[in-house]
């Protein structure tokens, strides 16, 4: 299916997933305006959100199945496999988050069905980020996502810690957005366009590879994205915000938000700055700092939630290695890794959510002692998550890391590859103790884990994630093929095909 995006009909077809999700979000907004008092209302809202994600995913599938592709002049929105695959990732993460939140919200007495509306809007923002082929669309998506997530982080108004987290996130996020926007402005100043493909074409035709204005713009863009993915040293907000936010939201932030920022980063670097080599060095340096910083500080954590927060920083470092590789296998590894990482992290936060009682109580790693004898399946699931985060063979986390290593080796980034392996070894120092206390320590008291129960929906979500982890750890082929196709579509030299704007 070839779409000519200058025709309204074709443009609407290309935007169908976003339009669909927008429609659902508006419907849900109306519904919760009327019904927002009981647990039943919450469940209805959650059900609608699930339906929204499912139908939107189906529409994305329909576009993918018909091999939709854009044609003609440089559009604002991309129509390619990379967009579809990242859309699935965002929608899937959103759906899993809904499943994990249902019971949590009721348990914590957060009778705010707007939660789901915000979730829908933030996923919409992510889809625009992953699909936008214009810096303005990307920025729009980023802001839509961020504003929704600011509110989600502080949705528990009764908790001062959550309010503090939300405020911090908002202030620093606004600060970072300013850098991003300034970067966009400078890039526009240098090239006269905000369209990614056209920027790429302008850079080549005007020989801007070493132009100061463009490079400063690029650097500021990178800063903005680095903030969103919590790369060291722009990560300082992450531990505090992750710690303060409700656990399902933390899981959502650590996965989907990061994935969206990475997807946008990949698209921007791949399509607009493919010939500008300056960013390789910056991204490599960020990767090094993030891997080392995230892993080392995670070692010092005793709270499970904070440990997972730093762990997610460390993983952003690994993904940055894939970005720095800057080749097709890097992009494929990136998509694969995000799926593996998302499944693992969501499941881990879901398990943490059931253990963490009474809102914001800190769960120390030692509090998991003896979980294996009391709740063998929960302990097993958490153990699989830890092993996958560690990159243990047989889990999807291993395959993901392996592909990143391959990509790094292919582009001769030996130091990055070596550092990735070394810091992974360090990460064993905080992942394995979780398994150790669960399996090798006795429970402090008979009732220590008595009320630790996953609900049916959350249980299904965790089961799905763990099964997926093990499945992709053993048979990664299909998912990798898909990721490679997505990566390939990103690298098609659309820039050469379009004419530079007449300025």
């Amino acid at each position: 299916m070839t779409l000519d995006l200058s025709l309204t009909r074709d443009l609407l077809t290309a935007l169908l997933p976003e339009l669909m999700l927008t429609g659902w979000a508006l419907v849900l907004l109306v519904v919760v305006a009327w019904r927002h008092r009981t647990g039943g209302d919450l469940r209805v809202a959650g059900g609608i959100a699930l339906a929204a994600f499912a139908t939107t995913a189906a529409v994305v599938w329909w576009l993918w199945w018909n091999s939709a592709a854009a044609q003609g002049y440089a559009p604002m929105i991309a129509v390619d496999d990379f967009r579809f695959i990242s859309d699935w990732l965002f929608l899937g993460t959103g759906a899993l988050t809904v499943l994990l939140s249902m019971r949590y919200l009721e348990r914590e007495a957060l009778l705010a069905p707007e939660y789901y509306v915000l979730l829908l809007f933030s996923v919409l923002g992510m889809m625009l980020m992953g699909g936008g082929s214009d810096l303005m669309v990307v920025f729009l998506g980023l802001e839509l996502m961020s504003v929704s997530v600011y509110v989600l982080a502080g949705i528990n108004r009764k908790s001062p810690k959550a309010a503090e987290a939300a405020l911090k996130y908002f202030l620093l996020g606004a600060f970072a957005s300013a850098f991003l926007l300034y970067g966009i402005a400078l890039v526009y100043g240098a090239t006269g366009t905000t369209n990614l493909a056209l920027i790429g074409a302008q850079v080549t035709s005007l020989h801007l590879e070493h132009g100061t204005l463009l490079l400063i713009g690029l650097a500021l863009l990178l800063v903005g994205f680095a903030f969103k993915v919590a790369a060291v040293p722009f990560h300082m907000w992450a531990p505090d915000v992750y710690d303060g936010a409700p656990t399902p939201v933390t899981g959502f932030m650590a996965t989907a938000v990061k994935a969206a920022a990475f997807a946008a980063l990949f698209r921007v670097l791949g399509q607009a700055f493919a010939t500008t080599v300056a960013w390789h060095q910056i991204v490599s340096a960020l990767a090094v700092a993030t891997m080392v910083g995230g892993n080392l500080v995670a070692l010092a954590q005793r709270s499970l939630k904070r440990m997972l927060a730093y762990s997610s920083i460390a993983h952003a470092g690994y993904v940055l290695v894939a970005v720095a590789a800057g080749n097709a296998s890097g992009s494929a590894a990136f998509l694969f890794y995000l799926v593996a990482y998302t499944l693992t992290t969501l499941a881990a936060f879901a398990l943490l959510a059931v253990k963490g009682r009474g809102g914001e109580s800190d769960v120390l790693i030692d509090d998991l002692s003896g979980l294996a004898t009391e709740r063998p399946w929960l302990a097993f699931a958490l153990a699989v998550c830890m092993l996958s985060l560690l990159g243990f063979p047989g889990t999807a986390g291993f395959m993901g890391k392996w592909y990143i290593l391959v990509a790094a080796a292919q582009s001769a980034q030996w130091w990055l590859a070596a550092l990735l392996v070394l810091t992974s070894v360090v990460s064993a120092g905080y992942y394995l103790p979780v398994i150790m206390v669960m399996y090798m320590r006795p429970a402090p008291s008979a009732a220590a884990h008595a009320d630790v129960r996953l609900g049916r929906l959350a249980g299904a979500a965790v089961t799905l994630a763990v099964v997926g982890l093990l499945f992709f750890g053993i048979r990664p082929n299909r998912l990798l093929d898909l990721s490679a196709a997505g990566a390939e579509s990103l690298r098609t030299p659309t820039a050469a095909a379009v004419a530079p704007p007449g300025n």
């Binding site: 400063i216 907000w237 531990p239 500080v297 070692l299």
Partner: protein
């Protein structure tokens, strides 16, 4: 012939089923028996069919069955393939045939053991690996079998692992064999390096052109190092006598009839490589002759009935190596087959004796040693069948015509003598073989004399309980007795118009290597003389033992006086174990414990390496977490520092 895969798969299935039974339902002994014995017997039947088909086909080249691509790496492709030719056919029949008989014997011998199912599972697994070894069409496949039989040997030596001595014996066998296996591996890698292939057909076809003399020597010597481990030759023979700690049928099957002959089979299989290297062949023959003589001297003074047989096995294996090292591959394989018959018979016979002794002591609650010959004597009245059958085996191993051992041993000695005309060193090997033959006749007669003749020393109370084993055990003995007696007809020499049938049968396999050996013809007169000498030597040994030894003078082990002089030296096995212990085991243990463990591992690797970096990482992590102040302003400062650094990278 297409059924060949069934031969190894049947015992494997037996292992799986019996293994499952051993875990789930160990009490189901009839079922275990049916599976354990049935699978090997069925394998034997299939083997007979397959070999008959092979014989009918009159093929000049091996038949290779390729099943799947096992190791595809770059240019190296090792398929999982089995090879049937005349040599593997002989081994096939020996392994499954003798194996079946020993399985039947085990039904009686192990009948009361609580680990019955586990025992048969291991035994079936052993047969599977042994068949893999002899049927493998390439070095790696053979190596799988080679290692697998080693594993089963370990498991079965330490079968009664509750006693430390048994577990230690298993470990010793395993570790000593590892040394040899390294040799095998190095040889395999050298072959790949020089020839670029690992399949037997390709390697042997290319070897004469692709290998230089020194490369062939190196490969052959490393292969032979593997053989000295698996087939218990000097210097790696010490594990075999200790391996007697396992159940006696295991000693018969693994440590006499089949596994220990794997080295002989390997040399025969790689005849081309050895024929290309006079040095390696001389080493094989020399080590074989030396081992034959050396271990025969030790057997003279052992009191444990199984240990005598163990040293006898080492000695007979030496003969086989003398044969294959001389280029007389057929003679070596011939001796391998006849030895399988009479040595299995001797072991099973000793098993029958031990079974009787054990039951007698058990009934009287005595703790005397059921295997010490000083506690036996006069058993012919109690175990008449065993007595007669073991005499047949004794005469066969001593080389008394017309029993099987006479022909095979004579052929090896004849070949060695003939080679002496070309290389005088072989006269020495021949002389050593002859001396070993004398000692063999002597110690075997001694064993029979002390065990079955004279007066009984078991003890008055126990004597009443001595009786012949059940038929399930005696039956296999009779079958092996017949084979030991008439096994020689396989390969009667041309001298008596026998037609050398085994030699002709093996010709397609041995042709390539035989072409590389210079002719060493012997006249008929010389041959008759050699036969006469051999017979005289054998009879001298037997008569000498009968004259010199006085079973009446023996006293039970408990009250026996200590050995002195040369007797003690032989009884202590030339102190070889002690020498190895002092020169190798202790220094290695010392280095591992004091240097590698206490210093390298604990101090350097664990201390500085693992714990040191962990402590540093933790300290850095702690420092990093101090930065996490929670103060927004501070975060913004860090953020701006980051921005400055990033801008610094692009603006120069």
């Amino acid at each position: 012939m297409n059924l060949l895969w069934l031969v190894p798969v049947l015992p494997l299935a037996g292992f799986v089923l019996n293994g499952a039974l051993a875990l789930a339902w160990p009490k189901a002994k009839p079922l275990v028996t049916a599976i354990g014995v049935g699978s090997v017997a069925a394998a034997f039947v299939v083997a007979v069919l397959v070999v008959r088909a092979l014989a009918a086909a009159h093929l000049g080249a091996p038949v290779v069955f390729t099943y799947w691509d096992w190791i595809p790496v770059g240019t190296l492709h090792v398929p999982a393939a089995l090879q049937l030719d005349q040599l593997s056919a002989v081994m096939l029949l020996v392994v499954t045939g003798v194996g079946s008989l020993i399985h039947v014997f085990s039904v009686g011998y192990m009948g009361d053991d609580p680990g019955y199912a586990r025992y048969f599972a291991y035994l079936n697994l052993f047969v599977f690996f042994m068949l893999t070894l002899v049927l493998g069409a390439s070095f790696p496949v053979m190596f799988v079998g080679w290692e697998g039989v080693g594993l089963c040997s370990y498991l079965l030596i330490g079968f009664w692992f509750n006693e430390r001595i048994n577990a230690d014996a298993g470990k010793k066998a395993f570790i000593v064999n590892r040394i040899g296996d390294v040799g095998f591996l190095i040889a395999m890698l050298l072959i790949f390096q020089h020839i670029g292939a690992l399949g037997f057909g390709e390697v042997f076809a290319k070897a004469p052109t692709a290998l230089s003399g020194s490369a062939a020597t190196a490969i052959a010597l490393f292969l032979f190092l593997g053989c000295t481990g698996k087939s218990a030759q000097i210097p790696l023979y010490t594990w075999l006598p200790d391996a007697m700690q396992g159940p006696t049928p295991v000693s018969a099957l693994i440590h006499a009839a089949t596994m220990v002959t794997a080295g002989v089979y390997l040399v025969a299989r790689c005849g081309v490589l050895f024929a290309m290297s006079p040095v390696a062949s001389a080493a094989v023959a020399g080590v074989g002759a030396l081992t034959a003589l050396f271990s025969a001297t030790i057997a003279l003074k052992q009191w444990d009935i199984k240990r005598v047989l163990a040293y006898s096995t080492v000695s007979q294996l030496g003969y086989m190596f003398l044969g294959v090292g001389t280029g007389a591959t057929a003679a070596g394989i011939f001796h391998l087959a006849t030895h399988a018959f009479f040595k299995a018979l001797l072991f099973l016979g000793s098993g029958s004796v031990i079974y009787a002794m054990h039951h007698a002591y058990h009934a009287t609650h005595s703790h005397d040693d059921a295997q010490d010959m000083r506690n036996m004597g006069g058993l012919r009245h109690h175990l008449p069948w065993t007595w007669v059958l073991m005499w047949i085996a004794t005469l066969a191993i001593a080389g008394v015509p017309p029993l099987s051992g006479f022909f095979s041993k004579d052929e090896i000695l004849g070949a060695a003598f003939a080679r002496g005309a070309l290389v005088p060193g072989w006269y020495v090997f021949w002389g050593m073989g002859l001396a070993a033959a004398l000692l063999t006749a002597f110690y075997m007669t001694r064993l029979m004399l002390y065990t079955f003749h004279g007066s009984n020393r078991t003890g008055d109370a126990a004597r009443a309980h001595l009786h012949e084993a059940p038929w399930v055990m005696t039956g296999p003995l009779v079958a092996l007795g017949v084979l030991s007696a008439v096994g020689g007809i396989m390969n009667l020499p041309d001298l008596v118009r026998g037609g050398e049938r085994l030699a002709h049968w093996l010709e397609p396999v041995t042709r390539a290597s035989a072409a590389l050996w210079p002719e060493a013809p012997v006249g008929a007169a010389t041959e008759w003389t050699l036969i006469a000498i051999a017979v005289v030597v054998a009879l001298t040994g037997i008569v000498g033992a009968l004259r010199l030894l006085r079973p009446e003078a023996l006293v039970p082990a408990k009250v026996a006086p200590p050995e002195t002089g040369l007797g003690k030296l032989l009884w202590k096995k030339w102190y070889i174990d002690e020498i190895y212990d002092t020169l190798i085991v202790r220094p290695v243990m010392w280095v591992s414990r004091v240097v590698l463990w206490k210093v390298v591992d604990e101090k350097i690797v664990d201390g500085a390496g693992v714990n040191g970096t962990a402590a540093v990482s933790r300290a850095l992590g702690w420092l990093g977490s101090r930065l996490q102040t929670g103060e927004l302003g501070f975060y913004v400062v860090l953020f701006v520092v980051g921005v400055v650094l990033v801008l610094r990278a692009v603006v120069r």
